[in-house]
């Protein structure tokens, strides 16, 4: 199956265009498509988040601007465009101004390798997964630069938390993606999706590796700064986070980067674990390609909705809980998972046996992980223990005993 730029270039060359111009046109079309689609997706995501969170909190949400409030985000963008961009006099000029640009830069580049349908991937490079891993760190750098450059104590605190959290959660994230790469033997997103097409959807890696998928989801939440792990923008502790000092379009850039990074992680998760574009009818001529792109988007938005659901229902973790959850539970579990998978795959066993053994290892990892979390919750005594024991009952909500 030819990729999109080959098709485009062949058509252009066939129409009598010189080859180097055809190449340039194909590249520019692809780049422009990504550059325009990504902000549009962000507009939809902001609207979706506000609507869903509103419903969870028993509100209606935006419903004035446009049908169902769909144009609310555009109105917000126009408002942000007309705001004054304040330059704090004591901020570090380079770090302060470079941070919003870099944060969008890192996320937009990720869109180059995520697949839409067969043959329609920005670029299907042979190091796709490694590319995602490598570029995921640019956002961390941008957040630290913003925190440090703002010359604001709260922003700096938030910057420290960014480093501690995002660095820590990157390791289990990378290892859970390694589990899929190890089984599939490829880092191309196109091939990864191709391999999950058999057994009527049961070939999806989420059924083979539920443990890795769960760890990937948790780490994606942490990496995209979503709620149980949104310590770096804990409004009640840090005012706003590393972007306190930013206003106008610079603030909008951080906003854009955060929404897009959550979406890209959902996309990568859908491509690696939920079968990519696979679904009923994707091999039909003509309509199959559109169906496949539709499946891909449905799966991505499903994971993103799950993220919003978590965001709307879970309380925020404490810093020490967040760190020990990563280093004491997730990292040993993922390292164990990888070791188990390596041992299983090198033994000369038939493929179904290997699959069953991998599944057993994953279920074990899931069981241990959930048990450890449950034990930690019971030890912490969430919801059962009061933060302090009052000397008198005045001002407490506890009913006075008879």
């Amino acid at each position: 199956m030819a990729e999109w730029y080959q098709v485009l270039m062949a058509a252009l060359v066939g129409a009598g265009v010189p080859e180097w111009i055809a190449t340039a046109i194909a590249l520019l079309v692809g780049v422009t498509a990504i550059g325009l689609v990504a902000p549009l997706i962000a507009l939809i995501l902001v609207w979706l988040l506000r609507k869903v969170i509103s419903r969870i909190q028993d509100r209606i949400g935006p419903n004035r601007v446009g049908p169902f409030g769909l144009l609310q985000t555009i109105a917000d963008i126009v408002k942000l465009l007309s705001k004054e961009g304040i330059n704090p006099s004591r901020a570090d000029f380079m770090a302060y101004n470079l941070a919003p640009i870099l944060s969008v830069f890192g996320v937009l580049l990720l869109f180059a390798v995520v697949p839409v349908t067969r043959g329609l991937i920005g670029v299907d490079i042979n190091v796709g997964v490694l590319y995602i891993v490598a570029l995921g760190s640019i956002g961390i750098m941008a957040a630290l630069m913003a925190g440090w450059g703002s010359n604001n104590k709260y922003a700096l605190l938030s910057g420290f938390r960014v480093v501690a959290q995002l660095l820590s959660y990157e390791i289990p994230l990378v290892l859970s993606m390694l589990a899929v790469v190890l089984y599939a033997g490829t880092m191309r997103f196109g091939e990864l999706a191709e391999q999950q097409g058999n057994f009527l959807g049961l070939g999806w890696y989420v059924f083979l590796m539920p443990g890795a998928a769960l760890i990937f989801f948790v780490c994606a939440l942490a990496e995209s700064e979503q709620t149980p792990f949104d310590l770096l923008e804990a409004e009640s502790e840090l005012i706003a986070g590393f972007h306190i000092e930013y206003s106008g379009m610079r603030f909008a850039m951080f906003f854009l980067a955060q929404f897009l990074s959550g979406f890209v992680f959902a996309w990568v998760g859908a491509a690696m674990f939920l079968g990519g574009w696979q679904g009923p009818g994707v091999d039909l001529p003509g309509i199959g390609g559109f169906l496949a792109a539709g499946y891909m988007m449905i799966k991505t938005f499903a994971i993103y909705l799950l993220m919003i659901w978590v965001r709307g229902t879970f309380p925020r973790l404490r810093v020490d809980q967040m760190m020990s959850f990563c280093w004491k539970i997730l990292v040993p579990l993922t390292v164990g998972l990888i070791s188990w998978q390596m041992v299983v795959q090198v033994l000369d066993l038939p493929i179904p046996v290997i699959a069953v053994l991998v599944l057993v290892g994953n279920l074990l990892v899931m069981g241990i992980g959930l048990y450890a979390v449950g034990r930690a919750i019971r030890q912490e005594g969430f919801r059962t223990k009061r933060a302090f024991t009052p000397d008198s009952l005045i001002g407490t909500v506890q009913p006075v005993a008879e």
Binding site: L28, G85, N152, E170, G185, I244, S324, V335
Partner: protein, 120 residues
């Protein structure tokens, strides 16, 4: 092959220009009335006391160091994963890889026992 990386190169240029253009557009379209109070550090609405760029906890250095070791080793595991299906990648290579990961785990246990993972 080169074409693919040319695509990423052009996209990286575009990804720098897109936020730059929107920030410049915001600067042009928005009002510009700076005054000393507005340009001061916001910091929860009060005047900042003391220097912001302070010494920070050594704990962050520890986490950074552990991350560095782990991330390097994890990145080395990707080529190993790619070579896994090959026939020449036999039992001996797997044992070496497992030893490699055992070193990683020993480092983690050492850090754990030393209290490097406790967050006060």
């Amino acid at each position: 092959m080169l074409l693919k990386y040319a695509f990423i190169f052009i996209l990286s240029g575009f990804a720098l220009v897109l936020p730059l253009v929107s920030i410049v557009a915001g600067a042009i379209l928005g009002p510009r009335k700076p005054d000393p109070v507005k340009n001061d550090i916001y910091e929860s609405g009060l005047n900042t006391i003391g220097d912001t760029w302070i010494q920070f906890r050594a704990q962050f250095y520890l986490i950074g160091l552990v991350f560095l070791v782990f991330d390097l080793e994890v990145v080395f595991l990707y080529p190993i994963a790619m070579a896994y299906g090959r026939p020449e990648f036999g039992m001996a290579a797997v044992l070496v890889t497992l030893l490699f990961m055992a070193l990683l785990i020993v480092g983690l246990i050492y850090d754990w026992r030393k209290g490097g993972l406790e967050w006060q």
